[in-house]
């Protein structure tokens, strides 16, 4: 079933605050074969927050994760993420179109710190292939 067009422009509740620990930054860096010896997290680390927000969105819309393929991803950083940050992501559905039975969902997630200051904006295009696609 296609995703409802009325979702465009809707923002979902902020994700629960996630403390950024040195251990987790190291685990993230090492999982992509890199190393970490302190300082800012790898550039793609904010995907962890964006993914929290996307999961909550998919759950709310009853969309199966395994039917989602990542089409596009962009990060614009106000500042690097560092251990000690406590971050939250707020996802907005920016666009939605249907092509060949797939939903192309454009999302923007704003990642903010404990003071509410913007750390990073992430934009993702998600391709959803419905069961009948």
């Amino acid at each position: 079933m296609p995703i409802d067009q009325s979702l465009v422009g809707r923002s979902f509740p902020p994700t629960p605050p996630r403390p950024v620990t040195e251990e987790h930054v190291r685990a993230f860096a090492e999982s992509a074969g890199g190393d970490y010896d302190g300082g800012p997290a790898p550039a793609t680390y904010p995907i962890v927050l964006a993914f929290d927000a996307m999961n909550a969105f998919l759950e709310a819309e009853q969309v199966d994760l395994f039917r989602i393929v990542h089409g596009e991803q962009k990060f614009s950083y106000s500042r690097p993420v560092v251990p000690g940050d406590v971050l939250t992501a707020t996802l907005t559905v920016a666009s939605l179109r249907q092509i060949g039975g797939a939903d192309i969902i454009g999302t923007a997630s704003e990642i903010t710190d404990a003071d509410g200051a913007l750390v990073c904006t992430t934009r993702a295009t998600l391709v959803h292939k419905g069961a009948d696609a």
Partner: protein, 129 residues
Amino acid sequence: MNPGDVLETQTYDVTRADLVRYAAASGDQNPIHQDESVATSVGLPGVIAHGMYTLALAARAVATWTGGAEVVDLGCKFTNPVVVPADGAVTVTVAGTVKSVDDGLTTLALEVTCDGQKVLGMPKAVVRA
């Protein structure tokens, strides 16, 4: 760095065990990155790497080239999947050139390939350097 500079190509091997580790660390437990039968059920050629895994490799190359400079913008389209075999590894190659240097910001144009095929569309990074 100067516009037109060609950066040293970086290569990275990717195994299914890497994807399992990345799934745990990133929280992306989508089974298309771990389970062949789920992947093929949605029309994929097999288990594919997380697009974000491939972009993380591109970001590693950027960090290597720039000595860990602050990244201001990073992005790409995921145009072709990186299919990861059940045994052994697949190699992802990250090439880069300096596109522009302007007002303290350096823009790098990347080319990310696997088996000679581009897997990311217009991958680009802007760093403060």
